[in-house]
């Protein structure tokens, strides 16, 4: 589309309402992500963080409101269409295909935008980013540890060369070491210019690396702006309530 200008956000969500049956989960969320940005969404459990990602990715149908992506109105699009259009979601809980090998998981990640030549090149790159995937290339995804599965889930999202990479709680349930690894990886992806929308319960870490941040509360945007300004403007304890550092076990 020709109406993408330099300043137009790559993703623009306007006044989004999403309900689970009769229960409204999002009460008019608006947010935007610009090309090359790392935007974090923080908030306690149940604030609607995952819901907004699922709605953007097409898994949940919004009740009202609009989603524009790369200059197109994509409200109501199917997940597979959005993937083809350049969106990738690394889902909460990793959602690795357990009986598929690491290789097959990655091939499936490229399904909508598959190019054999690029896949081979990408693998070389991925093996330096995620050495563990090379070791485990022919193993079933279900046999990987939680941290390894998260690496695989991120690689599976990256392999389609998305214009927007969304990550839902990538550090959830991982050991502190693994959490460090995941955040280093996110920094590396950011430095490569990949546009990232990150949902994290680990608010402190997520705010450290974000260009901009949104604080969600009860399905509404409580605060939007630069993460370093956030402390002065809102009751920061509400952010940290949802963000115990690290996880319990791996």
């Amino acid at each position: 589309m020709s109406n993408i200008t330099e300043n137009a956000p790559i993703l623009q969500v306007t006044d989004l309402y999403v309900a689970y049956g009769p229960i409204l989960a999002l009460h008019g969320i608006s947010l935007e992500v610009h090309k090359g940005e790392l935007v974090s969404i923080c908030g306690v459990n149940g604030a609607g963080k995952s819901t907004v990602l699922k709605a953007i990715a097409g898994v949940l149908k919004p009740r009202s409101g609009s989603i524009r992506f790369k200059g197109k109105d994509v409200t109501g699009w199917k997940p597979e269409q959005l993937h083809k259009h350049g969106m990738a979601l690394v889902p909460e809980g990793r959602e690795i295909f357990p009986s598929l090998t690491v290789e097959e998981n990655l091939r499936l990640g490229a399904f909508g935008r598959y190019q054999a030549r690029r896949f081979a090149e990408d693998l070389e790159d991925f093996f330096t980013l995620f050495p563990i995937l090379k070791e485990r290339y022919h193993q079933a995804g279900g046999l990987l540890s939680g941290g390894e599965q998260q690496m695989l889930a991120i690689a599976r999202g990256l392999i389609s060369h998305p214009d927007l990479l969304m990550m839902d709680e990538p550090s959830l349930g991982l050991s502190p070491n693994r959490v460090d690894q995941i955040f280093e990886l996110i920094m590396e992806l950011k430095s490569r210019g990949i546009t990232i929308l990150l949902v994290e319960q680990n608010a402190q870490r997520a705010l450290e690396i974000a260009d901009r941040a949104y604080l969600f509360s009860n399905g509404r945007v409580e605060y939007a702006g630069r993460p370093q300004d956030m402390a002065g403007k809102v009751d920061i304890t509400s952010v940290y309530l949802g963000g115990q550092k690290g996880g319990d076990v791996e």
């Binding site: 990738a88 598929l100 389609s160 076990v249």
Partner: protein
């Protein structure tokens, strides 16, 4: 047990088991993707059987072409039933889909009764199917060996497709986690259509060998293969394709052992014993012999 009885037993188990394995596989392909127990699957077989009847009686087409058209019509009814009946209810509850499959089944049965005949029609069988073959000192009709060979070939082809093609990997992924597969760009309509097409294809092959055994096509003929498929699937496991195949062969093994060992006076209770075994499976090993990886996730 002397050698001849053993070979006869083995051929019976393998030929019956091959047919049952194909039946069960057709059910599980759709169940794996849609989590739908498709009660209309039996009618996919019936449609194939009627086409064999019409072509065999009213045309003089060569047999390979008759079989091909028969299979294609089962494929068509599988594909179309998904498009017309199941797709509009996609995303509704599984109960709604289940009732829909009952409806498709009953509507097709009534169509056969009203449009063709409530009574059975004799389906011509090619002579070479019943040609007796000498093997290990016993004679067996060629169709028994054919079904074994064809099943082996089909299983090999399906294995290659599911293991080594992008579409096959997508189907396996979608059967484990449908939403995530869509997030990877796997179109829901594509994998579901393919599942119904494969299911219809298997039903078409089953129709050929089923009518070769019974010699007839009738409106309600789909019920027995459907029941066989269910039992095989209960034994083998609903969530894995190899499980369906194993279930088909194990069913045939148990059925043949019962036929051999039950005293004549009890032989009419063979099915009752079979169902008792199925109930035992449901109670003791509800996941079947092969568990599969459905919704199984390692924690941590």
């Amino acid at each position: 047990m002397n050698a001849q009885i053993f070979f006869e037993f083995a051929i019976n188990v393998l030929s019956m088991g091959s047919l049952y394995a194909l039946i069960a596989l057709g059910l599980v392909f759709v169940f794996g993707i849609c989590k739908l127990i498709n009660f209309a699957y039996g009618e996919f077989i019936t449609v194939g059987a009627y086409v064999l009847y019409f072509l065999g009686v009213f045309t003089s087409l060569p047999w390979p072409l008759v079989f091909l058209i028969g299979i294609l019509s089962s494929v068509a009814v599988g594909y179309l039933s998904e498009l017309v009946a199941f797709r509009p209810f996609r995303g509704r509850s599984l109960d709604a889909l289940l009732v829909t499959s009952f409806a498709v089944s009953v509507i097709l049965q009534r169509l056969f009764q009203l449009g063709i005949s409530p009574r059975s029609k004799a389906v011509p069988v090619p002579a070479f199917f019943n040609m007796n073959i000498e093997l290990f000192g016993l004679t067996t009709p060629l169709r028994n060996l054919l079904i074994i060979a064809i099943t082996v070939v089909l299983l090999l082809i399906l294995t290659v497709i599911m293991k080594y093609t992008v579409l096959g990997v997508a189907m396996r992924g979608a059967s484990e986690n449908f939403v995530t597969a869509r997030l990877m760009g796997v179109p829901a309509n594509l994998v579901i259509s393919v599942a119904f097409i494969i299911s219809g294809f298997l039903a078409g092959v089953v129709a050929i060998f089923w009518t070769a055994r019974t010699g007839s096509a009738e409106p309600l003929m789909g019920m027995s293969p459907l029941l066989i498929g269910f039992i095989a699937v209960v034994i083998g496991g609903m969530h894995s394709l190899p499980g369906a195949v194993v279930g088909g062969y194990v069913y045939a093994l148990i059925a043949n052992i019962l036929s051999l060992t039950l005293p004549t006076s009890l032989l009419s209770f063979r099915d009752a014993v079979m169902f008792a075994i199925v109930i035992a499976f449901l109670v003791l090993k509800p996941e079947g012999l092969l568990r599969g990886n459905y919704q199984e996730e390692r924690v941590g």
